[in-house]
Symmetry: C2
């Protein structure tokens, strides 16, 4: 703010033309390099397997009806979101996930891809759609059977039957197994009695429950014949045609939230509400008329996880939507940073373009690199999802892998979105705080992505447990001596390698050409060794510390686990970062265009080295990097930033957002126009001979 000298308004010629010195760096690829990305090619890569659906969705949401209106009241926003969903219905938006016999299109991957793009218009519409078709509709489709499909799916798709997904309770969010709502079977009436036995068991934070929902898929403890068979899902009508609560149902409105106020979140309590026996969504467990329970999955634990796993698509779609939102924020911030000037460099040159400042590059470009990595990792996740849900690769192993992948990627990308949107908003100063420039609305709406559909910390802990369990499998049947030798030696690499949870792609390609990586820096294979080695070592270390727990009392073992909780979560994060890095690297191997390949390799290197820098202390302490090499990591990054700077605009433009998607006035070129107007003013003033001289120049005489 006060980082300036008093400068005269000298004529434009001398102030705004380089006086002997070059500008800090080239601003465009054209100025800088022969290497340049092929934007159309990169756009295809970023849009991925379901590019056509994404383009179709982007075309549809050019209609201003879909755009978030800042400052709109909660009530208006809710009606607007509902109205937009009807337009989605009219344009096939709701049909993709459902089978053809009910008017669906049976294309799971496309369904997710299409909805993810809606985040560009208004995240409330994305998430309200997710509630209706991804949760409420999916529960009926995935957990129900033909009679349920016949009865409700058409109305779900057409929005004739808006519904809520009633899983979370006030008292239990992440710990679904412990919910308190009961569904007790009454064999005489052939009915289930749905009941909320105490306030903590109230269903809470449910989209569509505040206002629009007519029914809900309700998760409750299934009790029949005096036995609790655990959590099952039931179809329960909640409101009549006039919108009034049905007998025994009490709904309440959650009121204003931090964002997503186009969604009517609310609470539901059930006071001994009776539903027909056949309203149990009985794909994985059923109750006969006489009250006897049956299931194809004998293990209660596995049955529970199977039911929950059928609903993984929420997490998958948050990973993609967060990545798209991050790309949008960076598009706005980098476009502005390439136009906006502030302070001269003291070298007599024009005021410096923001993106020429080293600090500004540090703030934005590594986040762009991660956003690219996420896009590639997400497409692989989406293909895995589509494989399982289309039935092509629907095995228990693949389902488990899919769930673990989603649990590893969703936390990283949703946190990245908040971080990136915030940094972008700050990088645009006061203008970034004005709602019309998009950042603040995106941050408000995406805030909840980090804790819903699975709290990020809990998801990472789940991944960490999977890593530990994969690790432990290595030792099955091996003798204790080998185990002990391992635990002492800590040379986990080879033992672990086979089991490494490497789900994305098959194998990392050729790791990029050495020549195209940073000279004298850390080449791709070295980046991979550092990133993968860290995951392996962390898991091995934690496993070694947990091993004595098997000999402890349950309470003591719990305490030992708790002592390692934070590091286990960090190991899971490291695993997710590795997956993203590998996906980026795999994506590059398919590129034949030399300019694209070169620039994307720099960007991948920036991502990899930023990860190494972030965890530099770990690599030093564990002897993976010498002090000297560690000290060089930051300067490698600086060098990459200088290289990538002229390509920054190309790299955000490659996302292909159109003006109707961006909408932010600061990213329209208005800033450049204003600067040109100011320059013209000063030039005319100078030409007129009436320009004031500066006090300072006066004193020199």
């Amino acid at each position: 703010m006060v980082d300036a000298v008093v400068r005269p308004h000298t004529p434009a010629k001398s102030r705004h033309t380089p006086a002997g010195g070059a500008p800090t760096a080239p601003h465009t690829a054209a100025e800088a390099h022969e290497a340049r990305i092929d934007q159309a090619l990169v756009n295809d890569m970023l849009l991925g397997t379901w590019a056509a659906t994404r383009r179709e969705a982007r075309e549809l949401i050019k209609d201003p009806l879909f755009w978030r209106v800042d400052g709109m009241s909660m009530e208006e926003h809710r009606e607007r979101a509902l109205q937009a969903m009807h337009v989605l219905v009219d344009n096939n938006g709701s049909r993709r996930a459902f089978p053809e016999e009910y008017g669906g299109l049976g294309d799971n991957g496309a369904n997710i891809a299409g909805f993810e793009e809606v985040v560009l218009a208004d995240p409330s519409i994305q998430i309200k759609s997710g509630v209706q078709w991804g949760l409420f509709g999916s529960a009926i489709y995935q957990l129900g059977t033909k009679p349920h499909h016949d009865a409700w799916l058409r109305d779900v798709i057409s929005l004739a039957l808006p519904g809520a997904f009633a899983m979370t309770e006030i008292g239990h969010g992440s710990d679904v197994a412990a919910i308190g709502t009961t569904a007790t079977y009454d064999a005489d009436a052939e009915e289930f009695v749905i009941n909320t036995p105490f306030r903590a068991a109230t269903k809470e934070f449910l989209g569509n429950a505040g206002l629009h929902g007519r029914a809900a898929t309700v998760f409750a403890q299934l009790i029949t014949g005096g036995v609790n068979y655990g959590v099952h899902c039931f179809f329960v009508p909640i409101r009549d045609e006039s919108g009034a609560d049905l007998p025994g149902i009490t709904t309440e409105d959650d009121g204003v939230k931090g964002g997503l106020n186009g969604i009517d979140n609310g609470r539901i309590t059930f006071d001994h509400v009776r539903i027909p026996r056949t309203n149990l969504l009985n794909r994985y467990g059923d109750v006969a008329a006489d009250g006897s329970y049956s299931s194809d999955i004998p293990s209660p634990g596995r049955r529970f996880f199977t039911m929950l796993g059928a609903l993984v698509q929420g997490r998958v779609s948050l990973d993609g939507a967060s990545t798209t939102a991050s790309a949008l924020a960076l598009t706005i911030a980098i476009t502005y940073a390439n136009q906006r000037r502030q302070f001269d460099s003291g070298a007599g040159t024009p005021e410096v373009v923001l993106l020429d400042y080293a600090r500004h590059q540090r703030r934005l470009l590594p986040r762009l690199a991660q956003t690219y990595a996420q896009a590639f990792a997400h497409d692989e996740l989406l293909r895995t999802f589509d494989g399982v849900f289309s039935g092509r690769t629907d095995t228990p192993d693949e389902r488990e892998n899919l769930e673990t992948l989603a649990a590893a990627l969703k936390p990283l990308s949703t946190w990245h979105a908040l971080d990136t949107i915030q940094e972008s908003r700050e990088a645009c100063g006061g203008a970034g705080f004005i709602a019309e420039n998009r950042f603040v609305g995106l941050h408000q709406d995406l805030d909840i992505y980090v804790t819903f559909e699975g709290d990020n910390n809990i998801l990472l802990q789940l991944v960490g447990k999977r890593l530990l369990s994969d690790y432990a499998k290595q030792f099955k049947g091996k003798d204790a001596a080998a185990l002990a030798r391992f635990a002492v030696g800590q040379t986990a690499g080879k033992v672990f390698h086979g089991a490494g949870l490497r789900q994305l792609g098959q194998a990392v390609g050729d790791l990029g050409s050495t020549a195209r990586s940073v000279e004298r820096g850390l080449r791709a294979d070295q980046q991979h060794e550092l990133l993968a080695g860290r995951v392996q070592q962390m898991v091995a270390d934690i496993a070694a510390r947990l091993r004595p727990a098997s000999k402890l009392s349950p309470a003591e073992a719990a305490a030992v686990f708790n002592e390692n909780q934070s590091e286990l979560i960090e190991a899971a994060r490291a695993h997710g970062e590795l997956l993203q890095w590998e996906a980026f690297t795999d994506a590059i191997t398919s590129v034949t265009d030399p300019g694209t390949r070169e620039v994307l390799t720099w960007l991948r290197d920036l991502f990899g080295l930023s990860l190494v820098e972030k965890h530099l202390a770990w690599h030093l302490i564990n002897g993976r990097l010498s002090t000297q090499r560690a000290a060089a990591v930051s300067s490698y990054i600086d060098r990459l930033l200088t290289r990538l700077r002229p390509h920054a605009q190309d790299l955000v433009d490659a996302w292909g957002f159109e003006p109707e998607h961006v909408r932010a006035p600061i990213a329209t070129g208005a800033e450049t126009a204003r600067q040109e107007e100011a320059r013209a003013y000063y030039a005319a003033l100078a030409a007129s001979g009436e320009a004031p001289v500066s006090e300072k120049s006066l004193k020199k005489h």
Copy 2:
């Protein structure tokens, strides 16, 4: 989310009572330790020098009129904020900063302290008050002279004259010296002509400009006799009694912002608006009737900085308000984390209280430690401010020190607030996203604190330059050999020590007793050595890299500086962290109560070691910590977390927030009441003999 096994609803006795195992950790100081803080004493320490004013302000804002109403329209919120300001006026809230002859109280420190507390009620009121009395009123008072005070100060204080502070322009925010608005003196008319020569020179983002302001203090290039004397401030009426723009004035509304929507931010353009010559606020520079310019400060640069420095109070107050807001967020999150239970530990014990999870402790307690450090550092900043503005210590050196201190502390505390509010919101899951629980509103409102009143990165760069200049002063008059010896040897410690920008307090006390610090950990003196050594080394390293720049062309020198920009900002941040650590340590030395001293020393250690952990790679690369000691830092932190966990509630309660300040339903004890209701239900069910058995227990038979 799926991190659970299916559990039967076994009777309360066996589920909710420790079965052989102890709970993970004591939950209260009473359970855990003889050591316990004296809450009243710590409350006095936290409220600091102007505790009485803070308590008075807190009492006043218990009136719900002051509370932020979530979901209120922008229009209503603006009227409400204005109304609240009138109530402040009626309760002396606006008088503290102004001299007694105009109805003021002449108490600068108290003024800031009082306003900071208003953040608890509604940050819009805090900032709108800051605009009216801290910026608009302050400009008249600090930059004007007696005729200006006589004419306007009473109406400023009474809010009869609401005003805007028109410094920032669309084209120039941080670089105030380059603004485009002109104030050209017309000697014939004895008037200044205020003009906006092009769109980029439009005054932008001004509070009170959108709607309520009747006048503005306008910063413009003062031109008289064909000479530009640089930026000066002018009093310019902008609206008539009916609220219509005066001739030549065009105001526009900035519309919806990310937060602070109780403030009517807007734009102003001037089309050759004429004001009397005497409307120049002429304390530091004046124009006589004949157009001749005079100033007590001959250097244009020093004059500019003196005028800007007179307005430092905005930064000072943001430091304090951000700290208070962080404390509020942690009070809510820690209170909830001490009640909320989720997942059992697998040890047959009751579900685990969130704050017993190691991860949860890691998320919240280090942030609490930093918030304490900030409170102590802020009180020292406020005393420095009061000394200068009361005239007691008003020397150029002290003014410069004050500005540098504010520039070092404001960035750290405003970023900390956003980080802490966000982590707290996430730590409360979905409930944290509901507006009534406060986090989301606080984040929205405080978002802009990191870029207004000086962008955080630019402020830190300013501090970095001051560090470099202090450093360079060491070498004045020394011979070149000594300089070269230094540059080679890098043993900066001794050479630099005398000049270290150590502004808070006088000297760090006895650094706490070794016995009270972490055994086998890093004692206070070692923490200090690491933190201070890092600042010194970073500055010395950057200075060494910049030294050749004196022999380069301006453009090349600018490029070298740019290469070091990011690290210079990091050095300034390290300096701010050191100041906070030292303030915390100084505060402890005054404590005689043994329990308080012990617990606060742990908390200070947690702050210090968290800083060391954050910069661990630097300490390793620079040989300040051996690999072995570095590896131990995290486990020292874990040990401190275990120690502090039972004191967490005491430590947030010591801030002394009352229910009218906290307001969040999740921090009221409602969660505990719901759990007790649920437990009672399960107990009654078990006693009735009608509790269902679990499927799992069935299979065992």
